[in-house]
Amino acid sequence: MTGYVLGRLFAAVPVLLAVAVFVFLLLSLVPGDPAALIAGDFASPQQVEAVRQALGLDQPLLQRFLSWMGRMLRGDFGLSLFSRIPVSQLIAQRIEPTLILSLMTIVIAVLFAVPLGLVAAYRPKGVVARVTMAGAVLGFSVPVFVVAFALVYTLALGLRWFPVQGYKPLSQGAWAALHSLVLPAISLSFLYIALIARVTRAAVLEVLREDYVRTAHAKGLANRKIVSRHVLSNAAVPIITVIGIGFAALLGGVVVTETVFSIPGLGRLTADSILRRDYPVVQALILLFAGVYVVVNLAVDILYAVFDPRIRY
């Protein structure tokens, strides 16, 4: 088990490294002189030159990359060009709503998608199966902000159940915070539900054909027990895999959803910083998102071993 985990950890390193190279090169693609950009519009040529030397921009690419990596690893992400606040501090200020929103979305998605996929597999010709599968294709076909506006129009503007936008921080009470994030979380979970429900259905259909499910019936077990002990535990691997893969879509969706609902989280910060060309912030956030994605999928890999004993050896 330890060997397996170490092996997975080890395999994640090159991916993260490749992401870092990618992000680094991305900013080298920027047309124009990065030093001039960082120094700002009103800087004199001397000031630009000073910035260039301070950031080591006059050095060769590889050396710049290495020193940049060194700073990133120490948690030194530099200053925001826009607000002149350290990037790490900016991220710390904005992380709360994004964290809650992501967790809520995953919980909503799993709570809806797994039972729907399960029922769809058990009664392939039933109403639930048809509606779920049609809804799943629809979920892939509608951009997240359209779902968001449809919910805002009906539930916020129409029925006035939820605020149209904005976020109440946890300091004002957990309930207020959760309530302000219900609509964003539902909009964000739409695609995720579609993804997980489809995979759950396919995985359960496959498991139901297995001989050991017949054995479970032959033992006279109640259906409920067969589902929880034999079917779901065997279908778990593809389901958690897709939860991990879908995490990238979730993080991307956070950028859009937070913009739509004016939530002061990391997603909104990302969108704003990109449009303001606030490079240090963009770099740090892309690295952070990619890092979270890699870590989540690492956790998924490790969960495999929990669900499937054959993987451990």
Binding site: V15, L26, V146, R201, A248, G253, A271, V282
Partner: protein, 302 residues
């Protein structure tokens, strides 16, 4: 249904020699019956393409302002209503078809070409496999939307950059699909035989590998086409896509959001058009996949 199909297949095999035009005609007529989903989604996409091509002739000027007819609800005169400066939502939505479809098609083509190249190379040449796939993993680790807006915002919005920005995050998935089928095809006896007999690599790839992988590639291309249109609308919506003066669905929705409460049609109609187009593309992909491999019926990982 099954029985009808079977007897149809047998009769056409029997009558191979007298495969007359009327016989072919009958088969074309029967196609929508055998593949209703595929036929319907193809039909819808075809209709949208015709609209896109014909929009300069069938609509008025999408930029024509009408200061007196602002925020008018849908009526017989303006079936989709008018926007905040009195432009016809219908005309603009029809023009928007051009942007979405051309971005979708370009991205699908670019992704397919590059993704297939990477996938074939990674699947066929073991030495390159690990490096190529780790690089693909890295690209997949960055959320597609993030990568696309970053590329567009940093380099600047031009059609070329937009297509590239949307294609880059799609390439790894295409490469993975292709690699997986190349890996299985490589093990097939006829490919082994061709390799053993000293066939040229390019010939083997062209004759044996690519035709075998064509099905999954086609399916994936359809999905890329669909998700490219969604990504384009998101880019426009966030203000990092098609320039605001071009009537694209994303731009229209972005402008319409301020008027959601009083004029939901400004946002609603482009959203419906987008959803219908993307839905048609996704359904086409599903139908193609089920047709190529019925055992996958109803969806696994994409």
């Amino acid at each position: 249904m099954t029985i009808i199909t079977t007897s149809d297949a047998t009769s056409s095999e029997d009558g191979e020699k007298r495969n007359t035009s009327s016989d072919r005609f009958r088969r074309i007529i029967a196609f929508p019956l055998r593949q209703p989903m595929l036929a319907a989604s193809c039909g819808l996409l075809f209709a949208f393409s015709v609209l896109a091509l014909a929009s300069p002739w069938i609509t008025g000027d999408p930029a024509a302002l009408d200061p007196l007819g602002r925020l008018k609800a849908p009526s017989a005169d303006q079936p989709f209503g008018t926007d905040q400066v009195g432009r016809s939502v219908l005309d603009r939505a029809l023009w928007g078809t051009r942007v979405s479809l051309s971005v979708g098609i370009s991205v699908a083509m670019v992704t397919t070409m590059i993704g297939v190249a990477i996938g074939v190379v990674a699947g066929y040449f073991r030495a390159i496999d690990t490096i190529a796939m780790r690089a693909m993993d890295a690209v997949m680790a960055i959320p597609a939307i993030l990568l696309a807006i970053a590329l567009v915002a940093l380099i600047g919005a031009s059609p070329f950059v937009i297509v590239t920005a949307i294609a880059v995050p799609e390439i790894p998935r295409m490469a993975r699909v292709v690699r997986a089928s190349v890996l299985t095809l490589r093990e097939r006896a006829y490919v082994e035989a061709a390799i053993t007999c000293g066939g040229r690599t390019t010939t083997i790839l062209r004759r044996h590998i690519l035709p075998g992988a064509a099905g999954p590639i086609m399916v994936q291309t359809t999905y890329v086409f669909a998700s490219a249109m969604i990504l384009e609308s998101i880019l426009s919506f966030l203000g990092a896509g098609t320039p605001p003066d071009v009537p694209s669905w994303g731009n229209m929705m972005s402008e319409g959001r301020q008027f959601l409460q009083i004029a939901p049609w400004i946002l609603g109609f482009p959203a419906l058009m987008l959803a219908a187009t993307v839905l048609a593309a996704n359904l086409m992909g599903d139908a193609l996949r089920d047709m190529l491999d019925p055992s996958l019926q109803g969806g696994e990982l994409r």
